[in-house]
């Protein structure tokens, strides 16, 4: 009968509503919960690119099948990177734990998990750095914020550094300019040395290495996919477009994320590129080899990112083009703008990009020889080279999401907005703290756009979704524009969860809707084959 003797107030006291761990963060082990992490890599994909410890593995299992001397591998790698990259050493040493970054991370804001505060996430690694690479850490241990490298620590690293999208919002607020994304890159690189990759990243890396794009599309599939778009464009405009593939001697090579070829709504953005280039009569070519603007190698190791990036330039050389235009992509631009030059540049065999339509020289791309399509299009509009009818987008009330990589990684803030304002009549900004260099991440970048971690993605995307919700309720926003393939895919899902009714579009879908093409038939529908405003009854 003992179990019935408790009084109601004692029973209530047994209910614990608090999630505060009873132990210090160093002593609180990480718990792997389903829907918050990505599946482990397949051995075959690691083998293809020569990554170490190639085998199938699962983060949920106790045994990660690590090499027996994994601790030494990590230590050697830390030592090597510290000597190679001064920035890394500096970032380790100068943090004073002021906490300015603490509440700036979308994963922290959305999850409430303190280990997602950038300062604490970095401490997960910094505590090891102190223990093995600083005198106070060696002598005073825990008193100096140091701890031993154990399997538990490695698992904690893996869990939390794959909950950082390297968006760099925290860096904007750091008084010392510590780039937390670089710390995440380093730790991911260490996990990479132990074969601790995710399936969602390593699959695309292997595909890209063999076939030139993340999806593993072969040349004929790329071509037939684009032909489908051409059929749709013909239905909508009456114009048959005939783009070229792998054409030597073209003036421009066009490279876009392969997601644009298959993942809706990116496909409409891709149709937008095709229509714009046709209208301009641009001398350009697609490549079925350099058929990926993105670079998932960037989420594994510096070397792998460099190898994948090289394919674009090797193809540009082979085709003999003058310069490269890149499609609407996010991390592709961080790679090009911040890393390409030291990896594979300067691309002296190419020419400084000069618009054949306006004559504008893009000095900003002097060494990379690659420009973002919104730079190209904004310049066309500014020089009155396009005939536009923005009323065709009148059913859309648009807001713009800055991709972390294009805004913070290359300062592309005005061009997309300038284009949208010229092709749409209804545009509203989200609140100031959530856009431009302070933009909130979609929550699914750096290879976190898998399906099995959906719960995590909804946490990371929460601040962005709440800002969209605000403009939806205030202005009736029903379309979220952006210039990133991952955004196009994942923001659609984010909106479906938090803000049903808000759809997602690339900027060039809006451009193509408004673009009045020579010889087109009267347009009845937009690119999604929905009636244009005023043509609903047609």
């Amino acid at each position: 009968m003992a179990k019935f003797t408790k009084k109601p107030k004692d029973l209530i006291a047994d209910i614990d509503y608090s999630k505060t761990p009873s132990t210090d963060w160093m002593d609180t082990p990480v718990e792997f919960k389903e829907h918050t992490f990505c599946w482990g890599a397949k051995g075959k994909n690691l083998e293809i690119v020569g990554f170490p410890n190639a085998r199938d593995w699962s983060p949920a299992e106790e045994d990660w099948k690590l090499p027996h001397d994994w601790e030494n591998t990590v230590m050697d790698a830390i030592k090597d990177r510290l000597s190679k990259y001064r920035s890394f050493k500096l970032f380790m040493d100068i943090c004073v734990r002021c906490g300015a970054c603490a509440d700036k991370c979308h994963f922290y804001i959305g999850s409430g998990d303190p280990k997602n505060m950038p300062v604490l996430r970095a401490e997960l690694f910094r505590s090891i750095y102190r223990r093995y690479f600083t005198a106070p850490g060696r002598i005073f241990g825990r008193l100096a914020g140091a701890r031993e490298l154990t399997l538990q620590v490695l698992k904690e690293w893996w869990y939390y550094f794959y909950q950082c999208t390297e968006c760099r919002r925290c860096s904007v607020f750091c008084p010392y300019g510590i780039d937390t994304a670089e710390i995440t890159m380093m730790v991911r690189e260490f996990t990479n040395l132990l074969g601790l990759n995710t399936d969602w990243i390593s699959g695309p890396v292997a595909n890209c290495y063999i076939k030139g794009n993340h999806l593993g599309l072969e040349p004929h599939t790329i071509k037939s996919s684009i032909e489908f778009f051409l059929d749709d464009i013909e239905t909508i405009t009456g114009i048959r477009i005939e783009p070229s593939f792998n054409r030597k001697g073209a003036e421009i090579l066009f490279v876009t994320p392969s997601g644009d070829l298959f993942a809706d709504p990116g496909t409409y953005t891709c149709m937008g590129y095709l229509m714009l280039f046709h209208e301009l009569g641009l001398d350009y070519t697609w490549s079925t080899y350099a058929s990926e603007g993105g670079n998932f190698g960037f989420f594994t190791s510096n070397e792998m990112a460099k190898r994948l990036n090289y394919k674009i330039y090797a193809e540009a050389k082979r085709l003999g083009v003058k310069f490269i235009i890149g499609g609407e992509c996010g991390h592709m631009w961080r790679v090009i703008h911040q890393y390409m030059d030291t990896w594979n540049g300067p691309a002296d065999f190419l020419e400084v990009p000069k618009s054949p339509i306006t004559g504008t020289v893009f000095e900003n791309a002097k060494t990379t020889k690659m420009i973002h399509i919104t730079e190209f299009t904004a310049d066309l509009i500014r020089n009155n080279k396009l005939k536009l009818d923005p009323s065709r987008n009148d059913n859309l009330i648009v807001t713009y999401h800055d991709s972390c990589n294009t805004s913070r990684g290359m300062g592309l803030l005005e061009e997309p907005r300038y284009i949208i304002k010229n092709v749409c009549n209804h545009f509203y900004e989200m609140p100031e703290d959530t856009i431009r260099e302070k933009t909130f991440c979609c929550g699914s970048g750096t290879g976190l756009n898998a399906g099995e971690n959906m719960e995590l993605r909804m946490r990371g995307g929460l601040p962005r979704a709440m800002a969209v919700k605000y403009v939806k309720e205030k202005y009736g926003v029903n379309m979220l524009a952006n210039v990133c393939a991952i955004d196009r895919a994942t923001l659609s899902t984010l909106m479906d969860y938090y803000n049903p009714g808000v759809r997602v579009t690339g900027v060039h879908e809006l451009v193509a809707n408004a673009l009045v093409m020579k010889g087109e038939k009267p347009r009845e529908t937009n690119l999604r084959q929905e009636p244009l405003p005023g043509k609903e009854g047609a």
Binding site: T20, P21, G112, D264, D433, D496, Y497, G501, R528
Partner: protein, 183 residues
Amino acid sequence: MTVQSLLSEKKEQIAKKWFELVADSYPSQTSDFLKSKKNQFLNPVGFTLKEGLSGICNELSLGMDESILKKCLDDIIRIRAIQDFSPSEAISFVFLLKKVIQEVLPELSEDAKEYVSVMVEKIALMSFDIYMQCREDLFEIRVREAEKRNFRLLQVANQLMELKDERVNDLVTGVIDNEKGKG
């Protein structure tokens, strides 16, 4: 004085205390953040909790309008359904309301306590439904995303001849109708 007027008189105090207790269901550093950061866009969880809980408190003294309650609960639970909470933890905040009212209005009559109890039960039952709807939405969006990813591949492979239904149309236009979970 009726229970409704008592609740109406103290609604702000109840909402404030309730919010603090709910914020305390997060780790201590986060609880401080949720309570102190005022900007709604930089602290969307704190803002949503505060707004939602106030909205519910307001309804306790009014007519318990189901659509308003549903919206307030959905805003809160949609967030807690994807945070690191078990199902019971995610909706535990509802039951804290009883505790708060007891503390703020200790002098309530037995009848009034019974009224509060029934209200909390009603809110709890609605919360079960909303929580389940959020979790279903979570899995639904995952499936939809996978479908969108493969749609064009299927089209290229000419596998869509038999699938020309509304669902395919939805996939093409990107229109999603999962308003059912919304108030």
